[in-house]
């Protein structure tokens, strides 16, 4: 292979890694929007809480003398999922459910308030300095011609792909095969009708928040380990990017969120590859504006039918 194609391959690997984590977080935005038509701006903070939980768990396990890598990873992932889901559920219960049925703008404002609250709460509880995640998984494989360009694929990147793929498959199976999944789809189609037909819609809505939070927690653990540092402000940018991904793919559509995440990640990597890397956010968000201008429903979104 030529030098350029190897370089593009490397950037594709980088873009795919970051893109798949965007996709995981974007699911939370898109599912909530799909059912109650609201943007949960506190979702990025749930992701951030996931990284902090994982950090505390890992450090705790190390001090207790547990050093088996799979055990540490699995426990970190589990606690992050449990704690983040609890937060996701609690946020819905406390901040959104009492306001349901009101004007659309109200939950949006509480969501922003919730986001600011959680960010500052973690900052006060954990300090605002960057915390360094211990490097659990290092190394990887290198291929390509060492004289031309060596493509590196780290184990962590492979794990991110694997975990994302597994979570997405599980989610797709859950939505398409299970009873609860069917109820979710029914709620997304028509909340009021589903309620009339005997579906406990409050429970389903709470469930979508929990699922979204769990996926965000998975992304949080992965990214925390991949990048190496965490701070209380990472939720904002990650949330914004994931929201962009959700809108890009068509908000409300689960496959759309997956596709949008990957496209956004790869776009960012390619921009940084061929232009100065400070432009990558500019290009990512310009892409959002362009999609909204020419395809307001996103890539896989359906035009919204006015509900009577």
């Amino acid at each position: 292979m030529t030098e350029t194609s190897l370089y593009v391959l490397q950037q594709l690997i980088n873009g795919l890694t970051i893109g798949s984590t965007y996709a995981l977080i974007a699911i939370g935005y898109t599912m909530v929007y799909g059912i109650i038509g609201m943007i949960n701006f506190a979702h990025g903070e749930v992701y951030m809480i996931g990284t902090y939980t994982a950090f505390i768990t890992i450090i705790g396990l190390f001090t207790m003398g547990v050093s088996s890598l799979p055990v540490v990873l699995l426990l970190a992932l589990m606690t992050a999922i449990i704690i983040s889901s609890t937060y996701g559920y609690a946020i819905e219960r406390v901040a959104y459910r009492p306001l349901r049925g009101g004007p659309r703008l109200i939950p949006l404002i509480t969501a922003i308030g919730m986001s600011i609250f959680l960010q500052n709460y973690i900052r006060l509880a954990q300090g605002s300095r960057d915390l360094a995640m211990p490097a659990l998984i290092s190394g990887g494989i290198e291929f390509g011609d060492p004289d031309v360009f060596e493509v590196s694929l780290s184990w962590m990147q492979l794990i991110i792909w694997g975990v994302t793929l597994a979570s997405m498959t599980a989610l797709a199976l859950f939505i398409s095969r299970s009873r609860l999944g069917r109820a979710c789809r029914a709620c997304a189609q028509d909340l009021k009708m589903a309620n009339l037909l005997g579906i406990d819609t409050n429970r389903i809505i709470a469930l979508t928040f929990v699922i979204g939070a769990a996926l965000a927690a998975i992304a949080g653990v992965m990214l925390g380990l991949y990048y190496g540092t965490i701070n209380p402000y990472i939720g904002f940018m990650a949330g914004l990017k994931a929201f962009t991904a959700a809108v890009l793919g068509g908000i409300g559509s689960i496959p759309g969120a997956m596709l949008g995440g990957l496209i956004l990640g790869i776009t960012e990597a390619m921009t940084a590859a061929f232009f100065p890397s400070e432009y990558k956010d500019v290009v990512a968000f310009s892409l959002l504006v362009l999609i909204l201008l020419f395809r307001p429903t996103g890539l896989l979104g359906k035009p919204e039918v006015e509900k009577v």
């Binding site: 490397q10 950037q11 873009g15 960057d130 360094a132 990214l223 190496g228 960012e268 400070e278």
Partner: protein, 373 residues
């Protein structure tokens, strides 16, 4: 309120009487030491005070200067620009013609206007903002390097010792980092080393994989980074994970124990410019002992620059036999001085002609070793 006012007035009168009494003795020369005695940065003011006072005491112990005994008078500006102006006016009214201070650049700048206008010599041992000496003033000097001198020092070192074939300069788009990065790139371009890659990263960004792939593709063999430790730490950590072993160099902003926490083993061997630790240099050992005897800490960054400020001022007085600030200023600009911060000279602006920064190799255990240049 009324009571407070009364108290303050009394103090002023008392001080005034004291000053009048001291003025009567012609063989005492008073030197103002202006800086924060109170407020959040008071510990920096303390560094300046112990440095200057030590110099004054030692000169007095050796017989004073031109038959005069020196006396340090402390003024508190609390690092507040408004109070600094008030302090400067009081110093002028107290008939003091020589000042060490102020400390915070934001205080030094407005105070220096008054000193220049009233014919008072001012030497700051701590203010690093370039603006202070940009006004073409005659009587304003400093015994501490400017931030941008780090760029000059780094560029010279890279040119002389590293001789990179493919240099990359990365910065964080902020005033400090981009300023330094631009200085390094431009100076190296002048001396014939071209930068193959010059680009910024977003502060707070966590993913540098695309940047690292680009560094690899450009076969970069040395990277200068202008910015702070959180981003450099991540770049180092992610570089080593992706098989990029290039050596990195950064400014003082990266020298921080958090760099070790973030980058771990990946930070071993990083080069950085940082202020010299004057309390470590062998020539100052006797002085360090003297500070320790007084139970004072000589390791603060402004202790030795403050000592040096008194040193050069009195040396000029001794050589010219005068105390007139204008004569002293001419002497300072024309000569070189052997001081506790090394051999120094002053340029036309009143800045040091050589940087007070040194290049260090940083280590994982938190230590740093000076690099021979």
């Amino acid at each position: 309120m009324k009571l407070k006012h009364g108290l303050f007035g009394n103090t002023l009168i008392a001080t005034g009487t004291l000053i009048a009494a001291l003025n009567a003795q012609a063989d005492t020369l008073k030197i103002g030491i202006a800086g924060p005695v109170t407020g959040p940065v008071a510990q920096y003011g303390d560094m300046q005070k112990i440095g200057a006072m030590m110099a004054i005491d030692r000169i007095n112990a050796a017989g004073g200067i031109n038959g005069m005994t020196l006396e340090g008078v402390i003024y508190d500006d609390a690092c507040d620009p408004k109070q600094a102006v008030a302090v400067a006016n009081r110093i002028v009214n107290d008939d003091i013609r020589h000042v060490i201070g102020h400390l915070c650049s934001s205080s030094t700048e407005p105070a220096s206007d008054i000193y220049e206008e009233e014919g008072v010599m001012m030497i700051t041992a701590a203010s690093t903002s370039p603006g202070i000496t940009e006004k073409g003033y005659q009587l304003i000097f400093r015994t501490i390097g400017l931030d941008n001198l780090q760029g000059t020092l780094a560029a010279e070192y890279i040119q002389r010792n590293i001789k990179p074939q493919r240099l990359a300069v990365i910065h964080d788009k902020q005033q400090y980092g981009e300023g330094l990065a631009t200085t390094v790139r431009d100076l190296l371009a002048e001396s014939g080393t071209d930068t193959v890659m010059f680009e910024g990263v977003t502060p707070g960004d966590k993913d540098f994989s695309a940047l690292i792939a680009k560094l690899k593709r450009n076969n970069v063999d040395f990277v200068y980074y202008g910015g702070y430790h959180p981003e450099l730490g991540l770049i180092l950590r992610q570089s080593r994970e992706k098989g990029l072993d290039t050596r990195f160099m950064g400014p003082e902003g990266v020298v921080n124990s958090d760099l070790i926490a973030i980058a771990g083993k990946a930070m071993e061997g990083v080069l950085a410019t940082a202020p010299k630790s004057f309390d470590q240099s062998p020539e100052n050992m006797a002085l360090v002992e003297a500070f320790k005897e007084r139970d004072e800490d000589p390791s603060g960054p402004f202790v030795f620059p403050a000592y040096t400020a008194i040193q050069v001022m009195t040396e000029a007085m001794g050589a010219t036999g005068k105390t007139d600030p204008y004569d002293l200023a001419d002497y300072l600009r024309a000569n070189r001085f052997n001081t506790t911060i090394g051999e120094i000279g002053f340029d036309k602006k009143g800045d040091l002609t050589e940087p007070t920064f040194e290049i260090y190799t940083l280590h994982t255990d938190g230590s740093k070793t000076p690099v021979s240049q």
